[in-house]
Amino acid sequence: MTALPQAELLERMRAGEIGALARIISIVENERPGFEPLLRGLYALPARSNAIGFTGPPGAGKSTLINAVIRCLRQRGKTVGIIAVDPSSPITGGAILGDRIRMGEHVKDDGVFARSLGSRGHLGGVSRATRRIVDLLRRSCLDVVIVETVGTGQSEVEIAKIADVKLVVNAPGLGDDIQAIKAGILEIADIMVVNKSDLPAAASTKRHLEMMLMLRAANRDVPVLATSPLRNEGIEALVDTAESLLASRIPLDSASNRADIRNMIAEHVANTARRRLGLDGDPALAAQIDALCDAFAVGELGMNEITARALRLLA
């Protein structure tokens, strides 16, 4: 495939060309040459669609639920883009990206675009580039963007900064009422889902979650909905609730949200610093950094002083 100028690529993406969208995602994900002008061109475009985030523990049935939600959205005439993140090995960097297996029924549908991402060492439940890729999909030709995080434990809440509406997907029988009042992903839910509601423990899990929400100080109504993709139950109600939440809130154009961008910059600064402190610094800089390391090791300088000096060296 020949290299295309960035502007033309974006144009083609907006016109609905799948190959162009796929290629732009790769450029952004890998920060390939030309990704800077591409991002500038991208953020100059208005966002067209909202993002719905699905998070929750491994095996809660996120991919299967998403498959059912896509079916429902397609029946309502919406085109859908899915970004599904699976964990990368912290040791080799490799990954099995298997979320597509549960979404196979949509592969022939031109109104559904799916892309699998490895988390690539990032710990928030998504990969470092996920945010930008979701921003990209919001500006493509798709009506709804769905983001699936890796199976999360209790504290991977980065999806809160990426999606307009966050669904926390729970499976029955994974814990008692104490689990339900712990801090973490349960706190970011706009909708709490008890998936696999065909299982016997579903009712008590739902009750625990409702209790937890009642006890919580935050003055916010979080619906608890039961879904069973197996029996195709509760899916319509879930999509209705998500759509009405999206309609009732001021559309969050995440690219224009200053606090979010500040986070993005902070992250980028940290990454740049890490890279320059690490391997590919020039020898003179490396020697100065080594001197700082030695000064810290013998207690000559404190971490605040080291940080200040390191920032000056990197500037």
């Binding site: 495939m1 020949t2 799948i18 190959g19 390939r32 490799g94 990954a95 990206l97 592969v107 022939k108």
Partner: protein, 142 residues
């Protein structure tokens, strides 16, 4: 600036064979070699494989066969990839491939054929070579 690019590979089983132990073993082995493996499961039609390869923008497509039909089916997948505009993605084939079929597979454009007993690290090494050579083709220059 750039770290070593991570190879993305799509593994699929075209046709009606349900034996996926081999392909799952390969998927795990390639993951351990640092690749991102997109696995779609069994019974994959050629057009679906091509659509997934297009959306996922993979570097290489790997097809696994254990009960024949590999030359015709692979030809179909290569044609489908060309149809979606990604004839540039190299295709490799593994599984129970009789020696007599290796040459015909190469003749229809298959970049690598791996029969029983091939060590996974050797396959991984060969995939790296194939991807390197494919991306060195002038049409892909950034």
């Amino acid at each position: 600036m750039q770290e070593k690019p991570i190879i993305r590979i799509l593994l699929a089983k075209p046709g009606l064979c349900t034996h996926e132990t081999g392909v799952k073993l390969l998927a795990a082995g390639l993951r351990d070699s640092g690749m991102e493996v997109i696995y779609t499961g069994v019974f994959q039609e050629k057009d679906n494989i091509a659509r997934v390869a297009l959306q996922e923008d993979v570097d290489v497509v790997g097809l696994s066969y254990l009960n024949g039909g590999h030359v015709a089916l692979t030809k179909g997948v290569i044609g489908a990839l060309q149809e979606v505009g990604r004839g540039d993605i190299p295709v490799i084939v593994g599984g129970i491939i009789p020696k007599a079929d290796i040459e015909p597979l190469h003749a229809i454009g298959v970049a690598g054929v791996y029969g029983p007993g091939t060590a996974i690290p050797d396959i991984a090494e060969d995939i790296r070579r194939i991807v390197r050579e494919a991306s060195a083709a002038p049409a892909l220059a950034p």
